[in-house]
């Protein structure tokens, strides 16, 4: 993989950057959907974030990047456990042409042919454990694969029952899907299962566009020099995420905030449990990123659009975009 562009050097795109950081702080928020035109930096941001995250400690022989050795397949129970090593946060790309076998894992054919032994060969889901699974052009992915992915992402476990194999292994990852709305839409059932959804466009002012071009151009010509220029910002962002990860469990959510979240969801007609839960979790992570121990109504306001916009019932004849509807509801329910 090419050296990723530094996360802090991305111009604008605040909503997307914030949503990605929220998911990094609390993966239980669920996956992220990034919708936007081509060339607006969707992949750049996702890869940048993965590079920014602190390394994890994992056993070198474990295909699932786990810390403990008991899930390593085919391990000799008497052998000495190798020491865990630091590895970068896994960032796995799901290529569009990937088969189900490649994704969930399959019979180890070599072993089966040579010794007749049935052994599991882990797939991409295993490699993504404890990291990110990125699907570019998620709206082009075959439906059955998307179903499978969302199911695993929700349960945190990959269960394989086929070809005479019976395997289950941990697969906890943040699912990030990106797509171009002009290529077609996702089914509402799928939309709802992503935790956050962000819409990005190209920078609105020429100044911003020029800045994007200049930074990217400089980076392409001299990646190392550019990275060292942004080292301080990158380190600060990394520390912020690390601190928020530690403190997010201790962040207090006042009843007033929970009620406000419920009222907001009700006003938008999206008062299923999933939306509300995501909203509160994301608000909590927002507070933690802000180094606070208590969620404020402001946190709800900040995260409401990405947490709810893809869950609204759509009336195609109503020209009002979902973002505008959410803003209106925020004004009515929470006051501006």
């Amino acid at each position: 993989m090419k050296t990723p562009f530094p996360f802090s050097a991305i111009v604008g795109q605040d909503e997307m950057k914030h949503a990605l950081m929220v998911a990094a702080v609390d993966p239980s928020v669920g996956g992220i959907l990034v919708f936007g035109d081509r060339g607006t930096g969707k992949s750049t941001a996702v890869r940048a974030l993965a590079a920014l995250l602190p390394p994890i400690s994992a056993r070198p022989d474990c295909p699932y990047n786990s810390q403990k050795g008991d899930v390593v397949p085919g391990r000799d129970p008497d052998a000495k456990e190798p020491k865990a090593v630091k590895i970068p946060t896994p960032m796995v790309d799901l290529p569009l042409g990937a088969t189900q076998d490649r994704l969930v894992g399959t019979l180890d054919l070599e072993r089966a042919l040579s010794t007749g032994e049935k052994r599991f060969e882990p797939g991409l889901l295993a490699r993504a454990n404890r990291g990110f699974l990125y699907i570019d052009e998620v709206n082009l992915l075959e439906d059955h694969l998307v179903d499978l992915l969302l199911d695993v992402a929700a349960s945190g476990e990959n269960v394989v029952e086929r070809e005479g194999l019976s395997v289950r292994h941990p697969a906890r990852f943040v699912l990030v899907g990106s797509g171009n709305p002009e290529e077609g839409e996702l089914r509402p059932q799928l939309l709802d299962r992503f935790g956050l959804s962000v819409e990005i466009g190209s920078p609105e002012t020429i100044d911003d566009r020029v800045e994007v071009i200049r930074r990217r151009d400089r980076f392409d010509r001299d990646p190392d020099g550019f990275l060292s220029d942004w080292m301080d910002e990158e380190e600060a962002a990394q520390k912020r995420i690390e601190a928020a990860r530690k403190s997010v469990g201790k962040v207090d959510t006042p009843n007033a905030v929970i009620e406000a979240a419920a009222r907001l969801c009700q006003a938008l007609g999206s008062d299923g449990l999933r939306g509300e839960l995501t909203l509160i979790r994301a608000a909590r992570a927002t507070a933690a990123l802000d180094r606070r121990r208590k969620v404020k109504i402001e946190d709800l306001k900040r995260i409401a659009a990405p947490a709810l916009r893809h869950r609204l019932r759509r009336d195609p004849l109503d020209e009002t975009g979902s973002t505008a509807r959410i803003e209106r509801a925020i004004g009515e329910v929470l006051g501006s």
């Binding site: 054919l109 089966a112 042919l113 059955h144 190209s202 020029v210 151009d217 195609p316």
Partner: protein, 560 residues
């Protein structure tokens, strides 16, 4: 005045630039049928790049591109042998994609993925599209900095240029010395915005291309002619709209000057110069590409190509359902699944047949693939945008299109819209599944004028046949009062028009295209009824057509 280059000179310049900086420019799209002119350019690219050349086979699958199990070797050696994919072998090489306009969107996305890795292939897309919306997948063209069209050029217009490898090397060295950008980033960003290009990648690639073009002239600073050439090669082919030369500064206000002292001083007159500078560039571009405006308008928001499922055309392509035991004589053998089925039994079978070598496969190991046929349908709306009722009728038709698209993901459907008025019928919305694209395309629709119903039926029939060739099922939904008054010849005249209409309608019936005619006149019209009968279409009078009703009628009659 910038001296404009002709199209061939421009293409040659593109080839030279690609040779100088292949890693930065990524590749080029060449739009032309196979022929001597294209061969000359391709020759030039191949020779000046001096890299191994790979051609993408027409039947390339993701497995062939990404590598996978080498079946022959696996069977021979009794262990799993994987082969390197074409993309791995093409690392740093020149990859030529013939018939790129027919490239499957999955394959395209797969190739595009290579640009996230070091040393991606230099890509040359050969676009042989005949129709305006037959274009290579955007996911690829988006990443390539150069796009040229050689359509209509004769080989007499296309002499082999006289530069050689030494010129290329000189330019490469000059590029390394550093070339002053001047105002190039701002100008290119403004031009891209004025052309309605949302991608930031486009001006970025254009900037690199501008530098390379300057390096070819061994210039120390980027000049207007370099920007003009890069705009013609990189930005103009992506234009969604063509800025009118006078008011483009309004669309894209010049940026406030950077906060350096000298710039602050000359800021006022710089503002007045920005416009003319952009204008001079645009004039130079328009001089080379006179049909630019046309290209931009027909390309609209998205450009075709690469849409999901667009090219699914047979039972052997589609979502694989399951592989199940079966006879490969009438289905496609799933080799991998068959191997998997046979593998665990090998030690046992070898014991019972010690003389046999290699893999022992029995008939009941064989697995065959079954595919779900994509039963995709395309609803083609033919909407009468003529006369006084045009605005209302168009608005309701547009509403119906959007309602249908909002249900389309459940139903594997696409919707297209042909509007007719004046003397022509225009494909306003090419078949799409995207609600967003429909909204963008249908935002502004003019109405009024005479009624070229016959031309509309011809256009609808042509689109329907094209869709059918693609393996999907077309439905025609005609919204009109049946009173056309422009004949196919383009001449006004009700009698002749009616003749042409009926003839086309019968042709539609003869081809067995399912059609519905929704009569939007205040009172049911005999003309409309006759036309519906000739077309073999269901006739539905609907005086005050509204979007929901149209949607319901279409649902109950065609797509049931």
């Amino acid at each position: 005045m910038i001296q404009p280059l002709d199209r061939w000179q421009l293409a040659v310049l593109g080839a030279a630039a690609l040779a100088v900086d292949p890693a930065g420019l990524h590749g080029m799209t060449i739009r032309d049928r196979a022929g001597p002119v294209r061969d000359t350019l391709l020759d030039l690219v191949t020779k000046s790049l001096d890299r191994p050349v790979h051609r993408l086979p027409a039947d390339a699958s993701p497995a062939a591109l990404g590598g996978g199990i080498d079946l022959g070797a696996t069977l021979r050696e009794g262990r799993q042998v994987t082969s390197q994919g074409l993309l791995d072998r093409a690392t740093g090489a020149l990859l030529i994609v013939p018939m790129a306009e027919r490239l499957d969107s999955n394959i395209a996305a797969f190739i595009a993925g290579a640009y996230d890795w070091p040393d991606p292939p230099v890509l040359v897309l050969l676009d042989e599209g005949a129709e305006a919306d037959e274009v290579p997948p955007r996911v690829l063209t988006e990443r390539l900095s150069i796009s040229v069209s050689l359509e209509g050029l004769s080989h007499r217009d296309a002499p082999m240029p006289d530069w050689g490898t030494t010129d290329i090397e000189a330019a490469r060295r000059h590029l390394m010395t550093g070339i002053a950008d001047g105002e190039a980033p701002e100008t290119l960003a403004r031009l891209a915005a004025a052309m309605g290009i949302t991608s930031v990648r486009a001006p970025l690639l254009a900037l690199r291309l501008t530098r390379v073009i300057a390096a070819l002239e061994e210039a120390d600073e980027i000049g207007e002619s370099h920007i003009a050439a890069a705009t013609a090669l990189c930005l103009a082919p992506r234009a969604v709209m063509m800025p009118s030369i006078e008011d483009n500064t309004e669309d894209a206000p010049p940026p406030p000057p950077p906060d350096e002292d000298q710039d602050a001083e000359k800021a006022p007159d710089q503002q007045t110069q920005d416009g003319p500078m952009d204008d001079r560039v645009l004039e130079a571009v328009a001089a080379v590409l006179p049909d630019l405006h046309l290209a931009a308008s027909r390309r609209g928001g998205s450009g075709g190509g690469g849409g999901a499922g667009q090219r699914k055309r047979s039972v052997t392509h589609g979502r694989p359902l399951v592989s199940r035991p079966g006879n490969p004589a009438d289905r496609r053998l799933d080799v991998y699944a068959s191997l998997v089925a046979a593998a665990p039994w090998q030690p046992v079978r070898r014991r019972t047949a010690p003389d046999r070598e290699g893999l022992i496969v029995r008939p009941d190991d064989l697995r065959v693939l079954e595919f779900e046929r994509p039963a995709e349908s395309v609803l083609i709306f033919l909407v009468d945008a003529s006369g006084s009722q045009a605005a209302a009728r168009m608005a309701e038709a547009k509403g119906a299109v959007e309602l249908m698209l909002s249900e389309a993901y459940r139903r594997r459907e696409k919707v297209a819209l042909i509007a007719f008025r004046g003397t022509s019928a225009d494909l306003v919305l090419p078949p799409t599944r995207s609600l967003l694209q429909a909204k963008r395309r249908l935002a502004v629709l003019p109405g009024g004028g005479p009624t070229p119903l016959a031309a509309a039926l011809v256009a609808g029939r042509a689109l329907a046949s094209q869709i059918r060739r693609g393996g999907a099922t077309p439905y025609l939904i005609v919204l009109t009062d049946g009173r056309g008054n422009i004949a196919l010849s383009g001449e006004p005249g009700r009698a002749e028009a009616a003749d042409d209409q009926l003839r086309t309608a019968r042709a539609i019936a003869a081809e067995g295209i399912t059609a519905v005619l929704i009569d939007t006149a205040n009172r049911p019209q005999a003309d409309a009824k006759t036309l519906a009968a000739a077309m073999g279409a269901e006739y539905l009078p609907l005086p005050r057509a509204d979007a929901h009703q149209i949607n319901k009628l279409v649902r109950s009659s065609v797509a049931a």
